[in-house]
Symmetry: C2
Subunit: 409 residues, 2 copies
């Protein structure tokens, strides 16, 4: 194993130049211990949002190429400042844009995917004893156009670099101490996990735990790169995300999450004919609306008709209702209802693969608190229930307790 | 002649997104008249200064490479926003960084010189009917490092592009209507010049007229590219800077300038031996201090000794005095005096080449106002006098009148 460490510092770790100087100190400590350091940095604080605001003052629908040209400047500012801060502390460092360092992507602007990373330039600078600082979140097409990787894309940049450099470790610095069994703001006894599997983390990220970008976890999983999620505000060990380990087998469920950012839309009394569901979701896909859960029920009003419900991100609700109404008319359904006062609570754990009864335990824990379940969806290592939003906190606490996730007293 | 027009918009033309939208409208008007448009843009308002402030909060002496990495983001923001504004008005446009468009420079960070420009990419996009927007002030080394061209470097970017594209015209947009016979804030009867020669403009720029970057004028002169300096706030014709034209021959002097940004330093009673001046100015050059005027006088105190005086930019005065004191000690001079309450007034005109008597007229105009001349320096088309700062405005007015530069009543 080579002694290269890739560190990624998110926006919350670089809110201002003082924080940048703190980080510089941390990086240098690693370097002086003999590690060769590659650092990926996000844009300062809310720079990206401010740039987007600028563009919004010109047009509501900016060209995606120009959007990427614009927002990629945020990370370029950060890397230059971090290099200066490291110089100031007496070590050598050099900053690069994604383009300069050969983070090659497809041309899907605003959500580009990394095709490959040319590590030569970084290797050369590491060999010269420099800390190499790379702008996160961005890449370049074969045609030299600047791309960005989508929200949280700096995580993906870090993992791609760790892979290309065959790094010993990839540390993801954030403003929390690691991954918890539940949101500590909701569940006081929530416990930081020492380890979690890629699959569990992937479910967590997809369920709205904001800590990491799902795509970066997929990539880490694919290339078996251990990720260490930890805080840039202290020196505590965080949570290591890695392949499935023996230890984990004993644990049924490792965490409970809640997501309040979805809304439920129902197309009522659809004629129950073959192909109806296909027609509905083909049209929705054409409108680029991302669906999360789907259920289909026998309608309570008419025999042979069904209600089709699905959940979408709240910020796409308006567009979704409009589309759903068109669909309702075209298939002869009775109309559209929606509910944005919902919450999705989920339990996640690789252990449930091998153990029956997790679902039953979850449903009875909710029933014990008189919480009605509106929709259910499951994967191999996750069960999610949609409930009324007002019961969200109560549900998370009940589930955290039922699965004994809390700190040992 | 090809129908390509290069336009450069300085920071005062893009202070905010509203101004950017105005400019977009102007560009589109040209395009719809059949011109192929290449636009060079500076950073928004005081963005560059704000970025420099950020870096200063980390280190007083940032790496020049990282400085360029940092400040070049300012122009990248502008070009993306301008492209969006043009799209919004229904025309096609595409933005490029200096690197993307192949503005190749040497690696003298913060003041790089353009080596060549690869016009292929721009030609291709022009052929596709797009407005091509290029980030000013920046380039890239053969090693893919980002460079900047120094203060006002966007002018140089524009001229280099005009040359590479064999453009019909190069328009320099600013917040004044053109080049004046004197600063209109000092001389109310100052007149906008319709034409001025490269050489005169070069002297003007070197003498502190902030309108254009001297290097861009040199380049325009070398490649015979006419520059049209005009305001982005109205549609008035500005001043065309071009080669020497017949018409100009009649004019002795085309303008009067004043520069209050210099200070005078004197090393007193230097031993008058061969090689003393060389020793003095070798040492000063080693300290990277830029000298403007130099005079050497017989000292009034001792025979065989001389006073050596020179002017420097005020912001280098502290450093200069320190160096001058060291020199004074090492050569056995008597000490150092300085005066920062000086002003340099100059008259410029290609006509003075062919006419004697301009200097005499200048000196007698100053004498007529009882203004004492402390230093004199001349070039083929310029005469400068250092006078007391308190007399600066009076001198400019007197000279403007003596050379009959005012508007015809």
């Amino acid at each position: 194993m080579r002694n290269i460490i890739v560190q990624k510092y998110g926006g919350s770790s670089v809110t201002n130049t003082e924080r940048i100087q703190n980080i510089a100190g941390r990086i240098i400590k690693y370097k002086r211990r003999g590690y060769r350091m590659v650092v990926v940095v996000s844009a300062l604080g809310d720079t990206t949002d401010e740039l987007i605001k600028l563009s919004r003052s010109i047009t509501k629908v900016p060209s995606e190429r120009e959007h990427d040209m614009l927002v990629s400047t945020g990370e370029q500012v950060s890397v230059a400042l971090l290099a200066m801060a490291i110089h100031k502390l007496g070590e050598e460092a050099i900053s690069f844009t994604g383009a300069q360092v050969g983070i090659r992507t497809d041309s899907a602007y605003t959500k580009a995917r990394i095709i490959d990373v040319n590590a030569d330039k970084i290797e050369k600078e590491l060999a010269a004893g420099k800390v190499v600082i790379v702008a996160g979140f961005q890449g370049v097409t074969t045609n030299h156009d600047i791309t960005t990787l989508g929200r949280g894309g700096s995580d993906t940049s870090a993992v791609a670099l760790a892979k290309a450099l065959n790094a010993k470790e990839c540390e993801i610095y954030t403003d929390v101490d690691g991954i918890y069994t539940a949101d500590p703001r909701i569940v006081r006894s929530a416990r930081k996990l020492d380890r979690i599997s890629y699959e569990e983390m992937l479910e967590l990220a997809s369920l709205g735990a904001q800590v990491m970008h799902p795509r970066s976890i997929e990539m880490a999983s694919k290339f078996k790169i251990p990720l260490h999620v930890r805080s840039s505000f202290n020196n505590k060990k965080g949570t290591v995300i890695s392949g499935e380990v023996k230890m984990m087998e004993k644990v049924l469920v490792s965490s409970v999450t809640v997501n309040k950012e979805e809304a439920k839309v129902t197309i009522c009394d659809c004629p129950d004919k073959p192909g109806i569901a296909a027609r509905i979701f083909k049209k929705i896909a054409e409108e680029n609306i991302n669906i999360d859960m789907i259920i289909q029920n026998i309608s309570r009003t008419k025999a042979r008709n069904t209600d089709v419900s699905f959940t979408v991100q709240k910020d796409e609700l308006g567009k979704t209702i409009k589309t759903a109404k068109e669909i309702s008319r075209s298939i002869g359904a009775k109309g559209v209802t929606f509910d944005s006062n919902i919450a999705k609570v989920s339990v996640i754990g690789i252990g449930m693969r091998a153990h029956a009864g997790v679902a039953a335990k979850m449903f009875s824990a909710l029933a014990g608190k008189k919480i009605n379940i509106e929709m259910i969806s499951t994967s191999e290592i996750k069960i999610s229930c949609v409930i009324a939003k007002k019961n969200a906190e109560k549900a998370v606490k009940a589930l955290h307790k039922a699965f004994k996730l809390g700190r040992k007293k």
